[in-house]
C-alpha cells in the first residue's frame, strides 16, 4: 500500500525540532525526554495510548505550558518560552480537540478573523475594510473544504462535522509553516474521515506546510502521514514510516497488536 504523496519524502532543514523535552506534574512525568524533528512539507503523526503524554507535548509545543526541560526550535529559532500568540505570529497554526469555532460569527468571518491579525498593525486595522482584504482567500478555502453552501451561516448553526471543517480551515488561513492538528477526526462521522484525509493531503501538496497530527484513528494516521512517532508513558517508543511502525514488534506489543 503505497500512496502517491509518500514518494516525495520531505527533506531539508527541519521546520520543527524538539530536543529532550521533559514536563512533570508533581510526581507524574507526563513527558520524559522526547526528541523529534519535523521536515518541511512533512505530515508527522503522533500516536500513543491515552496518558502517553501526547497532549502535554502538544500543549508545550503550542506555548500553553512551559516545559521543565528541553528545547523547541521553529525554523531554527528557539521558541521554547513563546506563548500561543507569539507562536502564531511566527507561523504556527493549530486546531483544538474540542470544537473552538466562533459560534456567533458566520463561517466566512471565522476564516477572516483567523488571519486578519497577520496583516498590518492594530492601528492600521482600524481603517482597514471589514474583511481585511482576505475575502478571496477565505472563499478559496471555503471552496476547497466544500462548505460553500453554509459559508454565510453562523458557525454555531452548523453540524458537528461541518464545524470541524471550519475549525481546520481556520488553522490554515494565515498560511502557517507548521500546523498542529489535535485529533481532527474526533467525534466526526466515519464517512467524513476520508474527506478530511483527502483535504489534508491536498493542503499539504499545494501549500507545502508541515503538519503534526495527533490521532487515535489508526487507518487515518497510516494513510495520511509520512512518518509516525509512537509515544508510550511520556517517552518515544519509535519513529518511522507507516510501514516501519506497522512492522515494529515493540509497537505492536505495546500498542497496536492487541
Amino acid at each position: 500500500m503505497t500512496h502517491p504523496h509518500q514518494h516525495n519524502r520531505p527533506e531539508g532543514a527541519p521546520v520543527l525540532k524538539v530536543t529532550d523535552m521533559k514536563k512533570a506534574y508533581g510526581a507524574i512525568q507526563a513527558v520524559g525526554g522526547v526528541s523529534f524533528e519535523v521536515r518541511p512539507g512533512e505530515i508527522f503523526g503522533v500516536i500513543g495510548p491515552n496518558g502517553s503524554g501526547k497532549t502535554t507535548l502538544f500543549n508545550s509545543m503550542l506555548g500553553q505550558i512551559t516545559p521543565d526541560e528541553g528545547k523547541i526550535e521553529l525554523k531554527g529559532q528557539d521558541v521554547t518560552k513563546c506563548g500561543p500568540l507569539e507562536l502564531n505570529r511566527r507561523g504556527v497554526g493549530r486546531t483544538f480537540q474540542t470544537l473552538q469555532v466562533f459560534g456567533k460569527m458566520t463561517v466566512r468571518d471565522n476564516l477572516i478573523v483567523a488571519a486578519q491579525e497577520h496583516h498590518g498593525s492594530m492601528f492600521s486595522r482600524m481603517f482597514a475594510p471589514s474583511d481585511s482584504g482576505l475575502g478571496a482567500k477565505a472563499d478559496a478555502l471555503i471552496d476547497q473544504f466544500h462548505i460553500r453552501h453554509v459559508a454565510h451561516k453562523k458557525a454555531g448553526e452548523l453540524s458537528y462535522g461541518q464545524q470541524k471543517l471550519v475549525d481546520i480551515a481556520m488553522a490554515f488561513m494565515s498560511e502557517p509553516d507548521l500546523v498542529l492538528l489535535d485529533e481532527p477526526c474526533a467525534g466526526v462521522n466515519p464517512s467524513l474521515v476520508g474527506g478530511i484525509s483527502t483535504l489534508l493531503k491536498d493542503l499539504n501538496r499545494t501549500r507545502q506546510g508541515s503538519f503534526v497530527v495527533i490521532e487515535h484513528n489508526m487507518d487515518f494516521v497510516m494513510d495520511l502521514c509520512h512518518r509516525i512517532m509512537v509515544m508510550v508513558e511520556g517517552k518515544v517508543l519509535a519513529i518511522g514510516t507507516p510501514e516501519e511502525i506497522r512492522s515494529n514488534k515493540q509497537v505492536l506489543d505495546a500498542y497496536l497488536g492487541n
Binding site: G83, L85, G93, Q100, G103, I112, V113, Q116, R125, M126
Partner: protein, 329 residues
Amino acid sequence: MKKLNLFITLAVLAVFLVVPSFLKNYGIHIFTTWLVFIIATMGLNLTVGYAGQKSLGHAAFFGIGAYTVAILLKAGFSFWLGLPVAALICFFTGLALGFPALRVQTIYLAFATLGFNTALWLVMRNEEWLTGGTFGINNIARPSLGGISFDGNLAYYYLVLVFTVVLALLLWGLLRSPWGKAFTALRDNAIRAESLGIDTRGYTLLSFAIGAVYAGIAGGLYASQVQFIDPALFTVGASIMMYLMVVVGGPGYFLGPVLGSAVGVVLPEWLRFAQAWYLFIFGAAVVMLMIWLPDGLLSIPDRIAARRASREASAARAAAAKAAQGVQA
C-alpha cells in the same frame, strides 16, 4: 447594512431631531440626559457587550469626565479644551483599569472595577479642594462656539445630539473594521483567539480605554447640561444602572444603548404617574424583561428568526418522514 436596520436607524434619528423642538424645558432635559447616557452606554456596550469584559465601575469614568470639564471650566478654560482633556484622562485611566482585567478572571474583575469606582467616589467626596467634596461644583457654564451660545436648553440639546451621532458613527466604523471581529473573538473564545494571532491583551485594554473615553465625554457633556454635579451621581449604584441599561438594551447590539438608556432614563419618568409605586414597577419590569429576554430587548428579531428556523426545520423533518413512509408503503 440591511435595509430594515437602516430604516429604523433613520427613524430613530428623526425622532431625536424633531421631537424635542416641541417639548418644554423638562422634556428637553430628559431627551438630553437620554442622549448623554446613550453615549456612556455605547462605551460600556463596547467593553461588556462586544469585548465580553466585566465592568461595574463605568460611572467612575462618567465622573472623571464630568469633574474634569467642571473644574477646567471653573478655572477659566474653554469647554472645547475641557472635553478632549477629559477624554484623554479617561483613555489612560481606562487602560490602567484594563490591566487587572488581564490578570483576574470574570467575577473578580467585576469586583475590581467596583473597587475602582468606590475609590474614585471617595476621592470625589473627600477632596474638597479639588472637587468641592459633598457640596459638588455648581454654576458650571455652557459652552459657546463661534458666535453660537449654547446657554439655551434646546440649543445645547442639539449640540449633544451632534456629539452622539458623531461618536456613534465612529463606533460603528470601528466595529465594522477588523477590530469588530477581534472583539467578538475575544469575547466568545479568548484562548482560541490568541491561538489565531489575536492580541487579546491589547484588545482587552483598548476595550476598557475606549469605553472609558465614551463615558468621559458623556460626563463632560452632562456637567454642562445640568450645570451642577456632586459625587452622588457617580456611585457604584450609577455604574450598576449603566450596566443594567446595556444588558436590558441588548449587549453586543449596536442600538442596544438607545433602548437601554430609554429604559434607564425615560421609563422612570413615564412611570411617575404611578407615584409611590413607580420604582417598584420599574424594578419588576426589569426582572420580567430579563426573564423573558435574557439577551436584551434587541434580541427580539433574532429570537423570531430562530423560532422560524426551528419551525421550518421540524416541518422539513416531518415532510421527510412522511416521504420515507410513503416509499416504504
